[in-house]
């Protein structure tokens, strides 16, 4: 069975969805991704859906779930490159995916993730400093 590749880039995981998502594929992506986040202790997940042209409520919910699971594992999720038609469909389905950060393209998405990770590290360092 085919799977969606998950690429590791430093602290982040990069997932580009190049094929039409069917339900089984989404479920296996969810499993793989959570396993990888735990394995590499990644801080950020970037999901690029610029070639995704069809979504349904299931895929929408799956994306929201992936974001929620990543947050539990302490990784921020950024969704990039959503097509206008897909955005309209999701809104019409009533899914605003309010928990997910979004960006126009992978470049901006990476920027957003780096910024998040940097801020997070700063917070940790400040925390360490005051304790001592």
């Amino acid at each position: 069975m085919d799977r969606i590749p998950i690429l590791k880039m430093g602290d982040c995981l990069l997932v580009t969805i190049q094929v039409d998502m069917h339900d089984q594929l989404a479920v296996s992506l969810q499993e793989d991704l959570t396993a990888q986040i735990a394995r590499f202790r990644s801080r950020g997940v970037l999901i690029d859906i610029s070639s995704l042209e069809i979504v349904d409520s299931f895929i929408g919910r799956m994306l929201a779930n992936i974001a929620a699971m990543s947050r539990v594992l302490d990784a921020e999720t950024v969704l990039t490159g959503m097509q206008p038609a897909v955005a309209i469909t999701l809104v019409e389905l009533g899914m605003s995916l309010s928990g997910i950060k979004t960006a126009l393209n992978v470049e901006r998405g990476m920027e957003l993730l780096r910024q998040y990770i940097r801020e997070d590290m700063d917070n940790v360092q400040v925390g360490d400093g005051t304790e001592e």
Binding site: L79, P84, I88, L90, V91, S96, L97, T102, L104, G109
Partner: protein, 291 residues
């Protein structure tokens, strides 16, 4: 019915002459169409009509396809020439009298004559209605096209700065217009690679729950694509309405006017507007620079 088409065919020349005469007294518009053109149309129609009537008496049947198409063409060309739909219908209807005359001459039996005249009249009426129908259809198409053009015209997406778009909305927002607004905004976001869009509703006269819902949908869709969306140009009266209606805009960044929203957008993309004094003449000029 066989006899009907026989009679019409045998008397084609007489009917044509009678028809043209009839038209001259009822629906003639010599200012719009020359005699030769009218005669050509009438002869062509009569030919197609007789041909079709040979095998069928139902104007919706396959046999009448040629006649129907011809009438539609006539309706269209006459409309372009400036005929009213009623005048085009009269063109067909004035065929009745000469046909009735021909039938009158052919039938001696009164009951047969009444039946034939009834059937022929019915057929011609329906064909006349067809011209009216196609005229209305053509008008409808024009109206639909113009509506689409108006929608396009009334929703321009303008670029304020690199990465900053503005969408000044003017007029009432309904569902179909919101759809166009949403689509044009989202495609503009992709095209210009913008991260901020400002929706300005200064020109929207009223905001009710439906309009607000449409706006929120548009803003959510833009956010899903990775662009921030600000709402500006909210007049005091509209602010009151929004609160009275209990519309929740807490997730939406709102500003009173477009200038404030633009300022916020600039600071978001890391720019600021500063006032500078040029040394040469002391004139004030504003320019933006990287923050």
């Amino acid at each position: 019915m066989n006899s009907f088409h026989e009679i019409v065919r045998r008397n084609e020349a007489v009917i044509l002459a009678g028809w043209l005469e009839e038209m001259a007294s009822t629906a003639r518009r010599s200012d719009l169409m020359g005699d030769a053109e009218l005669r050509r149309q009438a002869a062509e129609f009569l030919r197609l009509f007789t041909q079709a009537a040979q095998t069928s008496s139902d104007q919706t049947s396959e046999e009448f396809l040629g006649t129907r198409d011809f009438l539609k063409d006539i309706a269209k060309s006459r409309m372009d020439q400036g005929f009213r739909p009623a005048e085009t219908a009269m063109f067909v209807l004035s065929l009745k009298q000469p046909v009735f005359n021909a039938l009158n001459n052919a039938y001696k039996n009164a009951s047969e004559l009444v039946a034939e005249i009834g059937a022929a009249g019915d057929l011609i009426d329906k064909l006349a209605m067809l011209t009216v129908d196609s005229a209305v259809q053509i008008r409808d198409e024009i109206i639909t096209r113009q509506q689409a053009e108006m929608l396009e015209l009334s929703t321009p997406v303008v670029k304020l700065w690199d990465g900053v778009l503005a969408l000044p909305l003017i007029g009432t927002l309904d569902s179909s217009r919101t759809q166009v607004v949403m689509e044009s905004l989202l495609s503009a976001i992709v095209e210009t690679n913008s991260q901020i869009a400002i929706i300005d509703i200064t020109g929207v006269p009223t905001v009710d729950t439906l309009v607000a819902q449409h706006l929120i949908k548009t803003i959510t869709a833009a956010r899903l694509m990775g662009a921030d969306c600000y709402l500006s140009g909210i007049r005091p009266a509209i602010a009151q309405t929004i609160v009275h209606l209990g519309i929740d805009l807490t997730d939406v960044q709102t500003k009173a006017n477009l200038a404030d929203a633009f300022g916020l957008a600039l600071s978001k993309v890391g720019k600021s507007v500063v006032t500078i004094k040029t040394a040469a003449n002391g004139q004030l000029a504003a320019k933006t620079k990287d923050a």
